[in-house]
């Protein structure tokens, strides 16, 4: 327990160290989620406007795009 307390206490600087790491997680996390969301909504919008099958000319490039989506 004491070791956990010392870790949480951060030598008396807990109020500064922990918020710094929390901000990092919130900042990086929020931008990541916003980005994945925008890719998903854009992809959905494009699929709605232009169903992949109905357009044989660009079928190959659409398939390439879909693999990118699963990679994220």
């Amino acid at each position: 327990m004491t070791s956990l307390d010392t870790v949480l206490d951060m030598g008396g600087y807990a109020a500064f160290v922990w918020p710094a790491y929390a901000l990092a997680i919130v900042g990086l996390g929020a931008l990541f989620i916003l980005t994945t969301r925008s890719v998903k909504t854009q992809q959905a919008e494009l699929d709605r406007l232009r169903p992949p099958r109905s357009e044989p000319t660009s079928g190959a490039s659409e398939a390439a795009d879909n693999t990118t989506g699963s990679g994220a």
């Binding site: 160290v17 710094a20 990086l28 854009q42 494009l46 406007l49 693999t67």
Partner: protein, 236 residues
């Protein structure tokens, strides 16, 4: 908008992205516990030195993203590379986020150590200017009726603003400041070897995070261009 270069880029991105994401997670998995638990406190600053493992990599990413943005803007303005402009536009919000993170963690560090969260010294002020340059770049891109006009205006702003990069870097050498000089100098690195693993792991994690997110954001822009083209086709 079916430029072959965009598809080469997206195919390449599809290969790079999962590797970058995996390595990024690994860097965080090792870096965070070492930074928070297993690295030593500083002889003067105690445990507040752990803020450095966020603050310093975030500052470097803030500068790095701007460098990419300026280079991409230049190659867009000169050679009209569409992908270069997309990379520049994709880097802006990431750089803004890292710059904000640098400023905020700096405040959390300055309050207990300096005795103040903020002073208007050359380093802190020039870093705040960098943050506003990011905001200005993003706002300017959307402020025009035609997207191409907005892109050009924003690209010019990015180039003009790049004069701030050397000012940030050398602000602590050129003028008396409250902020200490860089940990990397001609004399070598002034951080003990016990503190370098968490620092470099966090640098790696942030850098790989950038790769993952910037590729996704470029992809989103390609999709936007395709949607626009598809709408025009429907309207026609």
């Amino acid at each position: 908008m079916h430029l072959p270069i965009q598809h080469v880029f997206l195919k390449l991105a599809a290969i790079i992205q999962p590797w970058a994401a995996g390595l990024c997670i690994l860097c965080f998995l090792f870096g965070l516990p070492i930074a928070l638990l297993f690295s030593p406190p500083d002889y003067q600053q105690g445990d507040t030195v752990r803020i450095m493992y966020i603050h310093v990599p975030a500052a470097w990413m803030g500068l790095f993203c701007y460098g990419v943005m300026a280079a991409g803007s230049a190659s867009y303005l000169i050679w009209r590379h569409p992908v270069a402009n997309m990379v520049a536009k994709a880097s802006a919000p990431i750089g803004a986020m890292f710059t904000a993170l640098c400023l905020l963690t700096g405040m959390l560090w300055g309050e207990p150590m300096w005795g103040t969260p903020w002073v208007w010294d050359a380093r802190l002020t020039s870093m705040l200017v960098l943050f506003f340059l990011y905001l200005g770049y993003m706002a300017l891109g959307d402020a025009f009726d035609s997207p191409e006009q907005g892109d050009k205006a924003a690209a010019i702003l990015a180039l003009v603003g790049s004069v701030n990069l050397p000012i940030i870097k050398f602000s602590v050498d050129w003028w008396n400041s409250l902020h200490q000089p860089s940990i990397f100098s001609m004399a070598g690195v002034s951080v003990d070897t016990a503190m370098l693993p968490p620092l470099f792991l966090m640098v790696g994690a942030f850098q790989l995070y950038y790769v993952v997110v910037v590729l996704m954001r470029v992809r989103a822009q390609v999709l936007t261009a395709k949607i626009r083209a598809a709408r025009l086709m429907r309207a026609a």
